[in-house]
């Protein structure tokens, strides 16, 4: 077995026991990188001095392990393009809070990963630098927008990865690539230095091989930041404490949306969730508010915020001018502009923010009865390359099961719950909990992962 195929936790343990050396991990990782990266188009930039930095970090919690970081996190040492022509040569003179803390914890920035341009999409196909291919089946998309980070984990091209989610951008690519993706509560992780998409829902978070790895990585960068006014003032808990806990007595609601496209996925999900009952949890099906409204809420809020957040790209202080936006960005900026114009704001923007309140209220109602809710992450397996092109609402429809919880700020974890043997593609389940209660979803997802056969690293 190659050492780059170890989970983060296994690597940490073996390094601690001196069973392996950090050089050996990088040796295997570098050869894998050489073999796979140009084909899969996962990394846009690569840290040539990663091993040197890793050797100096051996005494820190993450012991110099290589982490893949989505290319919308500003990093002083590597270009930050957000997969766009406009930022193709942008070299930030500042560090995002997340990567700063990652480095302080002894994580090494192995490279920056491909994404949908500006994080606008759920395919990584809208990147100005070409699509990333799904390592599980290269004829298929990795999902997005954190597709490069999910693929880096799936292809063993990093010990773990960091992405960001606005509505599905961590969990959906994680589902499509058969890895774990943890979207923390909005405000749990600082957004400082992450090129903004939709400011009121953007949440940086980990993608990893196991739930435990995700919890360990999240520990390194979660928590208050004086440079982000929307970041919680409360210290983050030790998320790895939730690993290996019993779920006995926990009440789990399965959000069963009666939608035709979901029928077969839902059927498998319900079968697979049976294990939670066996582990002592109470599992029952619940009705939640129609997810179709969430598509509208998310579309309006996100595009309105995008239109304003991308106004800074004028080519004066950095980057290229506004004529270089890709087609998708142009569409989103303009739609957002439209929904905020005089006379239309009430009809669109303000109405969307009202419906958002209805979702918050619906979750309040559901969480009075349940500790954790679960649904499929995505309606289907990873789509084929090209599927997102010319579909105006591709991402919004792909992420329809996640949008409601995203606009509500809730934490969620994707874990694989099925693999199709023919295509080698995965289905993922998304567990969600009330705000600030990541431990609950980590606990359930960890139990599910350890007691099913779908995690490919635990079941080699």
């Amino acid at each position: 077995m190659k050492l780059n195929e170890l989970t983060l936790k296994e690597s940490l343990d073996k390094l601690a026991k001196k069973e392996i050396k950090i050089e050996e991990i990088y040796q295997d990782l570098d050869s894998a990188y050489q073999a796979k990266n140009s084909k899969l188009n996962i990394y846009l930039s690569h840290n040539d001095v990663a091993l040197e930095q890793a050797k100096k970090a051996s005494h820190k919690p993450l012991r110099g392990l290589p982490i893949a970081v989505k290319d919308n996190f500003c990093t002083r040492d590597l270009l930050t393009t957000a997969s766009t022509k406009i930022l193709e040569e942008f070299q930030p003179q500042y560090e995002s809070t997340v990567t700063k803390r990652l480095l302080e914890s002894g994580g090494i920035l192995y490279g920056k990963t491909n994404m949908d341009a500006w994080a606008h999409g759920s395919s990584t196909e809208t990147s100005d630098f070409g699509p990333t291919l799904n390592p599980c089946n290269p004829a298929h998309l990795p999902g997005g927008s954190s597709g490069g980070s999910a693929a880096a984990v799936a292809a063993d091209l990093a010990a773990a990865a960091i992405g960001s989610e606005t509505a599905g951008s961590i969990r959906q690519p994680a589902a499509w690539c058969g890895v774990v993706g943890l979207k923390p509560t909005y405000g749990r992780v600082s957004r400082f230095g992450v090129a903004a998409m939709a400011s009121s829902t953007d949440s940086p978070g980990p993608l990893a091989k196991t739930v435990e790895d995700a919890a360990i990585l999240l520990n390194s960068f979660a928590g208050p930041d004086e440079r982000d006014g929307t970041c919680s003032r409360n210290k983050a808990p030790d998320f790895s404490q939730a690993i290996g806990q019993s779920i006995k007595g926990l009440k789990i609601g399965v959000i069963y949306q009666d939608i035709k496209e979901l029928a077969s996925t839902n059927q498998i999900l319900v079968e697979q969730l049976q294990i939670l009952r066996e582990l002592g949890a109470a599992v029952e099906t619940v009705q939640a508010m129609d997810p179709h409204f969430a598509i509208g809420v998310y579309t309006v809020v996100q595009r309105a915020e995008v239109s304003s957040n991308l106004a800074r790209y004028d080519g004066i202080r950095y980057g290229l001018d506004r004529s270089h936006f890709g087609a998708e960005a142009k569409k989103r900026i303009m739609l957002g502009t439209y929904t905020l114009t005089k006379g239309r704001a009430d009809q669109y923007y303000n109405l969307a923010q009202k419906v958002r309140t209805l979702y918050l209220q619906d979750y309040q109602r559901l969480f009075q009865k349940y500790d954790v809710l679960v649904s499929a992450t995505s309606p289907s397996y990873a789509k084929e390359l090209g599927a997102s092109l010319d579909a105006a609402m591709f991402g919004e429809l792909e992420d329809m099961l996640l949008e409601a919880s995203s606009v509500s700020g809730l934490p969620g974890v994707n874990v694989p719950f099925y693999r199709d043997e023919k295509t080698n593609l995965y289905l993922g389940a998304s567990f969600i909990a009330p705000m600030w209660q990541e431990e609950k979803v980590i606990k359930v997802a960890d139990a599910f992962e350890k007691n099913t056969k779908w995690n490919s690293w635990r079941n080699k």
Binding site: S96, F192, G193, T230, Y313
Partner: protein, 446 residues
Amino acid sequence: MPYKLVCGLEIHAELKTKSKMFCACKNDPFGAPAPNTHTCPVCLGMPGALPVANRQAIERTIKLGLALNCQVNLFSKFDRKNYFYPDLPKGYQISQYDIPFCYDGYVETSEGKVRIHRIHLEEDTAKLSHQDIDLDGDGVLDKATLVDFNRSSVPLVEIVTEADIISPTQAKEYGQKLRQIMRYLDIADCDMEKGGMRLEANISLRREGKNELPDYKVECKNINSFKFLEAAINYEITRQTEILQNGGVPTQETRGYNPTTGKTFAQRSKEDAADYRYFPDPDLPPLEFTAEQIEAWRQELPELPEARALRLATTYSLNIQSAQSLTRQRLEADFFESVLTLAKQENLDCQKLVNALLNKKITFSLQDLPSKVLASFQTAFASQTVDENKLTAVLQQVLSNNPDAVEKYRAGKTAVLGFLVGQTMRELGKQTDVNQVREQLVKMLD
């Protein structure tokens, strides 16, 4: 004149804080050693940079509102005002839209009340300047605009009045009062030459006897002194009267003022009214204040010039004009008041003293001790010397009448000297040379 002026003012002032409005960069655009040295990802609008509000700037804006008799919104927020310009790094300005910190206040002027419509807090833009530079290296100079972000995101308050102003002189008086109050509060320097205070006037005319607002409005911008403000309004009255008398309606537009010609000139028409697409800034949580907090801030307000002038006039028997002259600036007023306190104690003629001070009949600096100022006053306005025997006799009388004061003095509390001098002066009359009295008194006490 068949037409009456209808005028409202919008005044911007940069707040004096240590750091900028939404980042921890130094707020000192004029003191910066070089362009673009007080900048960071936030005020340069870099990707992922986030604003965090400066508490002091918020407090100062609300205190200004309280000083201008405003109501305070207990719930408030910041909004994004979206438009494009090279001096606006984010493509939006963080401002306040529908819930400003303060509203419904007023400033009294000699021509009536000017109501304050609202006061809100926002961030300043970068500074543009123009130069001919060979940009493309072809040896020919190109017209270029230079951008310095040292001013970007400096806190800026905007004070908007109702259209209550009825004359150019009232506009000027209002502006001067506003500046005086901001300086009293020590929240803004209001240096107009440096752009620390910027004046805009909305000017229109209505037919005498009509009450409704005119259906057009001319906005005059870039006025950098109160004198020019007065002149610009005067010019507009003439210009608009002529148009109206010829049966026309002045164009709704923005005009600049040229101090050299004394005229206003068209800058751009307002037909394509801007659509700023305001929405609450998702990066900045809303603000909520308690009535107690606002009350506590109100208690911290210094005595304002008007109240202070009134008090000085009453306490020291001064005419109101001279009291107003003494209270123009806070530090000056502090100085004058300390001199007056002592003068009153010593039973001097305060009005006469004030006249001497205001007419610069005696030289003094704000650092001088009050006793020194009084001494020069006495020397200059002398004051009859008294026969030494008579003085000694009176002093002996005063000392024996006030054994407590004598004891205190001998115990080191020399401040009672003023009291004893005052008692003596009462006996001898206000024309007496107070220096002589004091010297003799000290001799006797020692």
